[in-house]
Subunit: 442 residues, 4 copies
Amino acid sequence: MDSQSEGFCVFDFVISERRTWCKFDPAGPIFNFAHIYPHNHKNMSETNGAPKKGVLERLRDGVVVGDGGFVFALEKRGYVKAGPWTPEATVEHPEAVRQLHREFVRAGADVCQTFTFYASDDKLDNRGNQANKTHTGAKINQAACDLAKEVANEGGCLVAGGISQTPTYLSGKGKEAVQAEFRKQIKIFIANNIDFLLAEYYEHVEEVEWAIEVLKETGKPVAANMCIGPEGDMHGVSAGECAVRMAKAGADIVGINCHFDPFVCLEGMRKMKAALDKADLHPYLMVQPLAFMTPDASKQGFIDLPEFPFALEPRICSRWEIMKFAREAYEIGIRYIGGCCGFEPYHIRAVSEELSKERGGFLPEGSQKHDQWGLGLRLHTKPWVRARARREYWENLKPASGRPFSSSCSKPDNWGVTAGHDMLKQKTDATTEDEIKQLAAK
Amino acid sequence: MDSQSEGFCVFDFVISERRTWCKFDPAGPIFNFAHIYPHNHKNMSETNGAPKKGVLERLRDGVVVGDGGFVFALEKRGYVKAGPWTPEATVEHPEAVRQLHREFVRAGADVCQTFTFYASDDKLDNRGNQANKTHTGAKINQAACDLAKEVANEGGCLVAGGISQTPTYLSGKGKEAVQAEFRKQIKIFIANNIDFLLAEYYEHVEEVEWAIEVLKETGKPVAANMCIGPEGDMHGVSAGECAVRMAKAGADIVGINCHFDPFVCLEGMRKMKAALDKADLHPYLMVQPLAFMTPDASKQGFIDLPEFPFALEPRICSRWEIMKFAREAYEIGIRYIGGCCGFEPYHIRAVSEELSKERGGFLPEGSQKHDQWGLGLRLHTKPWVRARARREYWENLKPASGRPFSSSCSKPDNWGVTAGHDMLKQKTDATTEDEIKQLAAK
Amino acid sequence: MDSQSEGFCVFDFVISERRTWCKFDPAGPIFNFAHIYPHNHKNMSETNGAPKKGVLERLRDGVVVGDGGFVFALEKRGYVKAGPWTPEATVEHPEAVRQLHREFVRAGADVCQTFTFYASDDKLDNRGNQANKTHTGAKINQAACDLAKEVANEGGCLVAGGISQTPTYLSGKGKEAVQAEFRKQIKIFIANNIDFLLAEYYEHVEEVEWAIEVLKETGKPVAANMCIGPEGDMHGVSAGECAVRMAKAGADIVGINCHFDPFVCLEGMRKMKAALDKADLHPYLMVQPLAFMTPDASKQGFIDLPEFPFALEPRICSRWEIMKFAREAYEIGIRYIGGCCGFEPYHIRAVSEELSKERGGFLPEGSQKHDQWGLGLRLHTKPWVRARARREYWENLKPASGRPFSSSCSKPDNWGVTAGHDMLKQKTDATTEDEIKQLAAK
Amino acid sequence: MDSQSEGFCVFDFVISERRTWCKFDPAGPIFNFAHIYPHNHKNMSETNGAPKKGVLERLRDGVVVGDGGFVFALEKRGYVKAGPWTPEATVEHPEAVRQLHREFVRAGADVCQTFTFYASDDKLDNRGNQANKTHTGAKINQAACDLAKEVANEGGCLVAGGISQTPTYLSGKGKEAVQAEFRKQIKIFIANNIDFLLAEYYEHVEEVEWAIEVLKETGKPVAANMCIGPEGDMHGVSAGECAVRMAKAGADIVGINCHFDPFVCLEGMRKMKAALDKADLHPYLMVQPLAFMTPDASKQGFIDLPEFPFALEPRICSRWEIMKFAREAYEIGIRYIGGCCGFEPYHIRAVSEELSKERGGFLPEGSQKHDQWGLGLRLHTKPWVRARARREYWENLKPASGRPFSSSCSKPDNWGVTAGHDMLKQKTDATTEDEIKQLAAK
């Protein structure tokens, strides 16, 4: 959070920087904000027909800001079902998916990830899910590419085609079956010529290695993220070893996403970096954590917390916590910084604002509605609220929960199972009432 | 929360009810959901050209579900600035406002409020706000009418034209000046023939009386809400007396919005109802609370809490807390139940799901992505998460905050000022750096 | 807490005051502390055979500091059983009772209450209690008088003979039976010529009126305390009305003890004072609260909290909280200030230190081991602990609980019964295992 | 906590066991409790003039229960000053020290530690402490031996002579100077023929090695405890290595005391045991933790927590937490289990009750006033309190703090200094006001 000096001068400085940056013509009006999509500045050559700068070049030259989480945001908006968490909204409600893409770009994201999380055919069919029957995986993935490309093009952003872990792996069906699932999605990404590929949300290093292997076949840059914490993967492989194995499998970008809060993820990233350095491996580093506080999560992360997924509200990170995270991530040497579940557009804007200096003074269009460090409160009617229009106020506040009957931490559920265990074998039939009763009795 | 009996049978019952309701043709396929906007069922006559049923008739015959809060939701999405909280997004980003309207309708709202909160000219000019200069109040209000009407028509919903308290009143400029501000907005609502009028977010009963007076001139049904808690208004008028004065001023619908959490608002509503009953006055009752927990707020509500407005995350209500609220509100006799700041679409859906039986088995389209009481978790891969797919789990959970260094309650700031105090005199100039320093030193 | 000005000067001032006061011979050594019992200063004439100043005179002229709670302190030391809470330790382990009396006097108490709480014969026989059979009530009460008088005489303190509410009343056996229980104890107090009488720990104003009636027959000064909070007694009589009825029944000193934390008790006292003032009644005011925080207790106080009596530790008041209480109590006009359950000797010392100026600069002997406001930490080895040797540090600290899995508040059990209800009928037989099972199932 | 089966039967079983054990004459009355000091059973031979069984034999054959903390308990009673924490009370108020010894023995302690903590001459002179000048270290240590022996003899207990870390070491004055301090105390212990020697409360393994060296010269059994947590000593030596070095220096009993809560101490003990096993060293294991919860303490323990020492109340362990600790300690293989700061007599009684079966059914005399698992509540007047008279109630309760404005965890102060640092150089002069101001400004 030390990217700028303190107080009002900072604000004025930033404003003038923004103005400066926005002025295409130094003689023009100083309020000439890049009107719809400010990313054009990073892609000026593109306006001349030159190709967009790729993700690896952007990482080499500076910071890449990722987008936020789709499944949680769209669940709250009414378009995704918690439980299966599958992305059939790309077909059913493209306008809602498009709007969320635009909000993340407006918040300063450099990347639009296709909304293809859990869009493998086996997942779209798992435990009574009807998304595959109704829409087919192919249509869902294609629609996701259409939407991500449309908005990315408006904003000069890159498109990342994403795959994630599969029920097939969890059910122990082996490498060939798992890779077959991946290939169906990848084929569509390649047909749409997306900019790079991302394997994310893997609990088992073996499965992400299999994913990287097929992603590398495409020749596109490959990013790989596991949803693990400092304790490593579900088979007992350490976080450091996971990073080394992802890099050795060929990932250009390596990191962690989901399952843990920003600060726990950074603990994991420190271990990854140390192991990679020791092995003399130097992929770019990436992190896309939860925007939920999880100091009490066990090895398997927030899924085991009793509040998952319908009572996580008190854990939602404030914008100030996200700014602190972005600064720490940058200082560790991470250059791809975005968010996963819980990250709303204003969280991505907080990353953009914290890293403004590192991005050449760039502030996203969304910051027109967010004077940094709460300075917009200078316009408030009540004097004691105007008194909060300063950095040190927000930087030091420890927010109360308004819940005197709740504790601050929870004991995770944790039945300690990993891939291959019978309990994790997946099936296409819906769970029965009796099965739930048996589970609840545990 | 006792609208339904327990467990799985409930779920099956609801599903079949929903199915029954959705069947336009009893011989047709049982999955024939009303596809885009389910409200058509309530307005079938409309499809024959008959007029929509008005708000008072709907209240007489059943429950009206309001929509949620626009300023907080759109601040997080990047379109509203915290501090002034003005709605120029209706002009600047109509697509974002339209999308939020659609999400609330999808969640089951019966009403689309015009996004005209704080859209009086004096507020659009207050303390350096440039919204009036750039767009004019007239254009902002007109665009709000266009958007609300467009989406309401899609969904068979009513449009409510809303006004709110003014800097003019706070600065002690008197009745004529205040009513002049109101009349500018009302003129536009009438030109657009909205369905009813709503004066909301008033801290002083005198000002809302002035508002009701001008709203009544239009001949439209009038709703009036104050943003007060059980302790009454800022001049020391009790909650009960405020209700009586609003009813006597002519409001058809009387209640409370904003400033306090659902359960504190209901405390205030109980006092209002008792005083109205005693005075033999019988307006319809309405409540649209915060979706933030505020057990620790003082008389002036959440604005005084140190977390307002940028660190309220740990206070956000879960869907289960909102269901409990909806049930209690209904049992008190309140028939217009919606939300204010903090209410996201999924909170309105929770109101709809809790009051499904009272609305003839109606479930909104958004419930297609939300099997009630967490039953969608039956599709989850991990067995201990599937074990949470039951009502009693979520109904009894006290969510942890994940913040062991935060307290559960805060001491409010409260400089104890009311209308007429010098400190509350508003001005059009921007607040200076020195003024903030002086305030911060208090 | 404003009894003294800030910081080190204060400390030096107090020390020199104390020295001055302690100097019997101005030419003598300045460290001539009154060696064993400092109260002699207030009773110098007594050493010449003159009578001790009575409680009413002391209250008229200044502040009387009470002692702390015996049943909780001796339960932790191993001499009282939680559940019956009866004082047979006066017979079984007089050395332990004597030591606790001495500690309270050393902490600055002006009064030694006989340890006769719950020492009525009916209580000593209730629900399988064998104390009456083994020792007889008469012996327990006589031993209590012996011990209180012995230590009071060492320290120039007054002896108060105390009675409390009875199972006979709760079982609805009527005035005569109840007063017969009181008379047995009072007879012993009078035979021992104690200084004044105290009826304390009454939940029902009717019973305390009956108690005052018999206490008044003795001609001794009478104090009367109910264990109620701001909501009044168990029959629905308001706190103010309770005070008025106690005063009208003849109590010279009226107030509240036990059941609620210091600050909740003061809320009740404010209501009592207002009602007494309104009725033009002017008894002395007295308060002896818990040293447990109970913001979440319901009408019946800490007994209903789930933590009572074996998990109250996190609620124990710090010495700083007690100092704040003593100051507020004094400012309300209360002149008899002591403690009940949870008050350990160091809490009484905190009252003495806070009210030092009001008692003519008097500091108790125990303060020789407690440099005020933590100044003893100047002798600590670690520099960051020495940094805590100052008033503003301790005055502002909000202590953490070290319990991240606990909430800050509890929901009280509260089956809402009052005297006369069948459920509260008491009996001499022990509770059976089956009865407990039935209760636990509720 | 699994030492007994559940519920009422347990209780009856224990009672009858106790009765059986207490019957000296099987034909005698079953209520023949060993009247004053129940330990006679363990020392029957002694009554015939045979020597007491030594500590090592007792550890070999079963469990030894230690006593609790003196400095904190006597600070609250008014006889010890927080800051210097020195034990001049042995001379000034022997009756208070004697009473506390008796309470611990009544609670079931097998050992009376001489109250000689911080009784080295250099500590009695440190930073303005006048205890050495007034009383001399020799007198304080002698009086401590007298008191411990007196009470130990009453109860058939062992006497342990204790030494602790010195300002001399912290000031970097070297081995010879440090050992000279130790020798002065040890000489007195040997003259009084105490049963065994204990070096406790050492933050630096080097200093405890020097202590063990001189203790071994006496030929008495030697116990050695460091006040470290799982992270090891202040010079960076791991907990495991500390244990190995203490054992190699000749300690017969090795462990941890003070500075951390029971469960954190057990984490440290697990590391010690693992390292000792690996080194094939097999001293007896001992633990005497705080009775304050410290999950948030850093490497230097509770002293760094902002609440130390005057606002630790919310952290005090309940008796149930101590029972859980005692069971876990036993299961690790620790055989000397007692307490340090914060342990009151009822905490030691909880250890005794939890380990009753392991001590041949022995229950201490104090348990006559404590029906286990809250069963004494069967005698309570209110039915909902009687409902708490069962094990599962207390075992599962998470106690609330009654402090909604406090957090659950604190950030420790921690200036990171170790022995030899200038900041830790000790001196005999009192700290000045200016020095405190400078420290406070940090």
